[in-house]
């Protein structure tokens, strides 16, 4: 499959990803109502880091090594399309930035780099090794419920640690991998991963969290599975009833398949995810904004460190202080038809076009009356 960057296709996939969401339900708030407040500072910092990386001769492969989840560089590539326009970044720099991150994404991805339908980072050889070497447990409904519950609890914990928008610094869905040749027709392997579960720089109280990484390897039969560019999963069919086998692996070492042990873990995680999120809610709006900025920067901690930039950013924290969210019609799915919004977003996001953020209201107005 070609890995060249097709910007038109990327914009299509990005727009579909946005349209599948409901801005009213983003936790704690819609990213594009907040990001533009500090977008110019963010993109300046990121561009500086990218240039320093180039100057130091860091290869895409080396840069990829700073991230545990491909979703981090891939989503930054799309999120920053807005910041590039907020920051009035010149075209040459915009193209440099997009290509820089695309090269990293390409390095980490085996195929379907834009996640049009799947998130493929494992080779067929790696999949074969998983199937041969992991300790697989045959599923039934009570076990499948615990597996589903585990995914739900860890996803919810990731929301609390990194916000809805940057939860992918922990959670990611890989696959679907066709494993029919091993198990018979219509069998797929899906790998769910949670990493960075001990972010002590953000939450010191997580230093004793029992693990930093957990994977669920799940084999389903007769089920459709797609992932979007936001790494949201969509099953067609029942994930509990159609789970055939599974393996829960902690820190790439310890298998945890026993249903009683899974239940105990779920009791612990459910309570922790609830308490942690409640604590985050009770901190209020100013702290929510601060957590957001810290979470976004934290994803690039190792990358920033490699190029000599501090991941914490006081300039951005000062900028967002006492600022309200920006309310616009840019994301009003009820007011505008899909074709108008898609045309608008594509014009605004396209790094090849000088459509700066201050011009967006006029662009939307023009498209509405076309």
């Amino acid at each position: 499959m070609p890995k060249e960057l097709d910007l038109d296709k990327l914009l299509d996939v990005y727009c579909e990803g946005i349209y599948a969401m409901d801005p009213k339900t983003a936790l704690p708030f819609w990213d594009y109502d907040f990001g533009p407040i500090y977008g110019d500072l963010w993109i300046k910092k990121m561009l500086k880091a990218c240039h320093l990386a180039k100057d130091k001769g860091l290869t895409p492969k080396q840069i990829a090594g700073f991230f545990q989840n491909i979703a981090v560089p891939r989503k930054e590539l799309i999120y920053s399309l807005v910041d590039l326009k907020v920051g009035k970044t010149p075209k040459e720099e915009r193209i440099f930035f997009v290509n820089f991150w695309w090269d990293v994404v390409k390095e980490m991805s085996v195929e379907d780099c834009m996640v049009e339908r799947s998130n493929i980072i494992h080779t067929p050889e790696q999949i074969e090794q998983f199937l041969k070497n992991l300790f697989w447990e045959k599923s039934d409904l009570p076990k499948a419920r615990q597996i589903g519950n585990l995914a739900m609890n860890l996803n919810s914990l990731a929301y609390g640690l990194y916000t809805d928008i940057f939860a992918h610094n922990s959670m990611e869905n890989f696959g679907a991998y066709d494993v029919s040749k091993y198990f018979g027709n219509k069998h797929i392997l899906v790998i769910k991963q949670w990493v960075n579960l001990r972010p002590v720089e953000l939450f010191p109280e997580f230093k004793d969290f029992p693990f930093d990484k957990l994977n669920i390897f799940a084999i389903y039969k007769d089920i459709g599975y797609t992932v979007d560019i936001y790494t949201h999963q969509i099953y067609s069919g029942n994930a509990a009833q159609n789970l055939v086998k599974y393996c829960v692996l902690i820190e790439n070492e310890k298998t945890l398949n026993n249903v009683t042990e899974l239940k105990n873990l779920n009791n612990f995680l459910g309570k922790l995810a609830t308490e942690h999120y409640l604590k985050m809610q009770q901190r209020g709006f100013e702290e929510a904004k601060k957590n957001w900025v810290l979470a976004r920067n934290y994803q690039f901690k190792d990358f920033f460190k490699a190029v000599g930039i501090e991941w914490r950013d006081q300039n951005i924290l000062d900028r967002i202080k006492d600022k309200q969210l920006i309310k616009t019609n840019f994301w009003n799915f009820e007011k505008y038809p899909k074709n108008v919004l898609f045309a608008f977003w594509k014009q605004c996001f396209d790094p090849r076009l000088d459509t700066y953020y201050s011009q967006w209201p006029n662009i939307l107005e023009t498209l509405t009356h076309k």
Binding site: A20, T25, Y159, Y277
Partner: protein
């Protein structure tokens, strides 16, 4: 018994189930939530995970096919209908409803 169609909204996860409504406002409803009830809320968030783990289905006022409620319901394998707009205002605790996650429909059973 009769069925009255209340909502034709977004089908976020497939499956059909009948059960009693429980309106959930937040974590404070945890102790009152019973196994197998239909969790009805404006939008789920991580403080509701312990109730979601015991719910037979989820209905929300808001959300898209990739919202927290939808993603969670798919992992749990329970029916989910989102974007009903007014379910938390219209429905009452204890009412019997049929949730059709295939079609995104909710029926009141009378």
């Amino acid at each position: 018994m009769s069925q009255k169609l209340l909502y034709k909204a977004l089908a976020a996860n497939s499956g059909t189930v009948q059960g009693k409504v429980k309106i959930v406002r937040g974590v404070e409803d945890n102790a009152k939530f019973r196994d197998g009830e239909i969790l009805v809320t404006i939008m789920t968030n991580p403080t509701m995970v312990m109730m979601m783990a015991r719910a037979a289905a989820i209905i929300t006022d808001t959300g898209g096919i990739t919202c927290h409620a939808a993603i969670t319901a798919r992992e749990m394998g329970i029916p989910c209908v989102v974007a009903t707009k007014t379910a938390t205002k219209d429905l009452k605790d204890g009412q019997e409803v049929l949730v059709d996650g295939n079609k995104g429909e909710v029926y009141l059973i009378e």
